[in-house]
């Protein structure tokens, strides 16, 4: 509310610089930053705010760009039969969590700090046809294509992942401090059992896993 708080200048009174300077000094905060009672209702829209003031989204209909396929572990051309993908096999999988892209990850520039919501969608293939063997580590347990999302190296979402050739969606959220954020999408498979058949009749490698048709959506909300 705007009102004189020090001494109101009235007609006939003696005026001095302090009469106004005291008032301005006293009202410094409430004049330059209106309190919530002073702000009209329903007046904040995108014309009142600079871009990214409240939130910012980052999305791509294809990741990695150009292919949408995981490109870090990939058999060489000619290693598989034509009815198989150049993909992850036990012969080339390095173990552990692997990035889906050889690039530098998804960089969220202009991150002001706040709540991060991410959706990672796509399709995953895992060869589970031999998972019913008598000597698998966990008998009768399907094999999974484990998935996880990291933000600046910290895992913020993990999912057991596809057990077949099927679509997946991993959704995660976290509070992430200010500064550019690097998102990594990663996968992991388990080791074969001694029952697994790893090459076909023609001495071609049997692929074990692949990720394709991937896309992501990230929403950052600052407050």
């Amino acid at each position: 509310m705007k009102q004189w708080t020090q001494r109101e200048a009235t007609q006939g009174a003696t005026a001095s610089p302090d009469a106004v300077n005291d008032e301005l000094r006293a009202q410094q905060s409430s004049i330059t930053t209106l309190d919530r009672d002073q702000l009209p209702a329903d007046y904040v829209d995108d014309s009142r705010l600079v871009a990214g003031a409240l939130l910012r989204s980052y999305s791509s209909s294809q990741y990695p760009t150009g292919s949408g396929e995981q490109d870090t572990v990939r058999l060489l051309s000619g290693a598989v039969d034509s009815n198989a993908w150049l993909a992850v096999a036990h012969t080339n999988y390095p173990g552990g969590w692997v990035n889906v892209s050889t690039g530098s990850g998804i960089l969220l520039q202009g991150w002001k700090g706040g709540h991060l919501h991410i959706e990672w969608a796509g399709n995953g293939y895992i060869m589970g046809g031999m998972a019913d063997g008598a000597n698998v580590a966990l008998p009768k347990t399907p094999r999974y294509l484990n998935l996880r999302i990291t933000a600046n190296g910290v895992a913020i979402a993990e999912k057991r992942g596809p057990a077949y050739h099927e679509a997946f969606r991993v959704i995660g959220s976290s509070l992430v401090p200010q500064g550019d954020v690097t998102i990594r999408l990663q996968y992991r498979i388990v080791q074969p059992s001694e029952d697994d058949l790893l090459v076909t009749t023609g001495a071609k490698i049997v692929p074990q896993a692949h990720l394709w048709g991937m896309r992501y959506f990230v929403m950052g909300r600052w407050r």
Binding site: T33, R36, S60, S61, W85, N123, A131, A167, D195
Partner: protein, 295 residues
């Protein structure tokens, strides 16, 4: 305005009550702008409720919504190429689509379009156990013979089509970044994986190789029934130029299988089935869209 723009009063200035009151009166609430408040001063009452941030939200039920699954729609495995996509319908031949009305829905530059869909599906039959099927892997041992086994690659694919021509909804095309699996690759019909930005797949069958238990070959395959299960997909698009959508729908193709030529991976139609009724049953689902400002 409420920003202090008047100069300070100095000693020696000639002042009167009127000039002082003028300064006070110069601060008004009728000309609020970015100088008047901090971002943190905003609270929910100050935000316009007119939907300027989330500019559109809509959802529609698709398919045959019978939650008991006593009725369903059957899609036979596709063998005649190039195959037409099967639009998800209500069981009476009526495609269940999302319409954006006569004026359509425009996605402006600076907006992001998000679509989500799910469908209750039940693949039946098998597509792996016939020589010539893409899902047929043969393992051989010189002394013990051979054993066919599934590649586990066979899938049905759901993907999005939109109508960007007019509200008659007769001009359906795959959404941006999605192909309709009609490219000919080595005699097969399919699409490069790079062109599957709106695809969501689910298995065409499920079969395990019986325990080999140290033998050279897997045992006979043991099929399992999937029954009804869910498939869900998501699609994100932030256009480089404005685009107006009049309709959106989910379509199905299958049976599909991995395929590679040279260094390129494809998803192609697998048209060789066994004697099983290789088909798909589906029930109901949902298609939902959101459109909002990127920032």
């Amino acid at each position: 305005m409420s920003r202090i723009t008047d100069g300070p009063v100095h000693d020696g200035d000639v002042l009167d009550a009127a000039s002082l009151n003028d300064r006070f009166a110069s601060y008004t609430q009728t000309d609020l702008n970015q100088f008047n408040h901090r971002d943190a001063a905003h609270d929910l009452p100050q935000f316009d409720a007119g939907g300027w941030l989330l500019t559109h939200a809509q959802s529609v039920q698709i398919g045959l919504n019978d939650w008991k699954h006593t009725t369903y729609v059957t899609v036979p495995g596709m063998t005649t190429m190039p195959a037409a996509a099967h639009p998800v319908e209500d069981g009476a031949g009526n495609p269940t689509v999302m319409s954006f009305g006569a004026g359509g829905l425009t996605i402006a530059v600076g907006e992001v379009f998000r679509a989500y869909w799910n469908l209750s599906v039940a693949p039946i039959g098998a597509n792996w156990d016939t020589a010539g099927s893409l899902a047929y892997n043969l393992f051989q041992d010189g002394s013990l013979g051979s054993r066919p086994s599934s590649t586990w690659g066979g899938v049905w694919v759901t993907y999005l089509e939109w109508d960007v021509t007019d509200s008659s909804l007769t001009n359906w095309v795959p959404v941006f970044g999605q192909q309709d699996f009609t490219t000919v690759i080595g005699g097969k019909y399919g699409a490069p994986l790079a062109n599957t930005r709106a695809s969501a797949v689910f298995p065409a069958d499920l079969t395990y190789a019986n325990s080999p238990n140290g033998a050279y070959l897997p045992g006979t395959e043991i099929p399992s029934n999937f029954y009804f299960r869910g498939v869900s997909g998501a699609y994100f698009h932030a256009p480089a130029s404005p685009i107006t959508l009049y309709g959106l729908r989910v379509v199905i193709k299958g049976i599909m299988h991995p395929y590679s030529v040279g260094s390129t991976n494809y998803l192609v139609h697998d048209t060789v089935f066994s004697g099983y009724p290789s088909a798909l049953w589906y029930n109901g689902g949902n298609l939902a869209v959101l459109k909002h400002l990127v920032q």
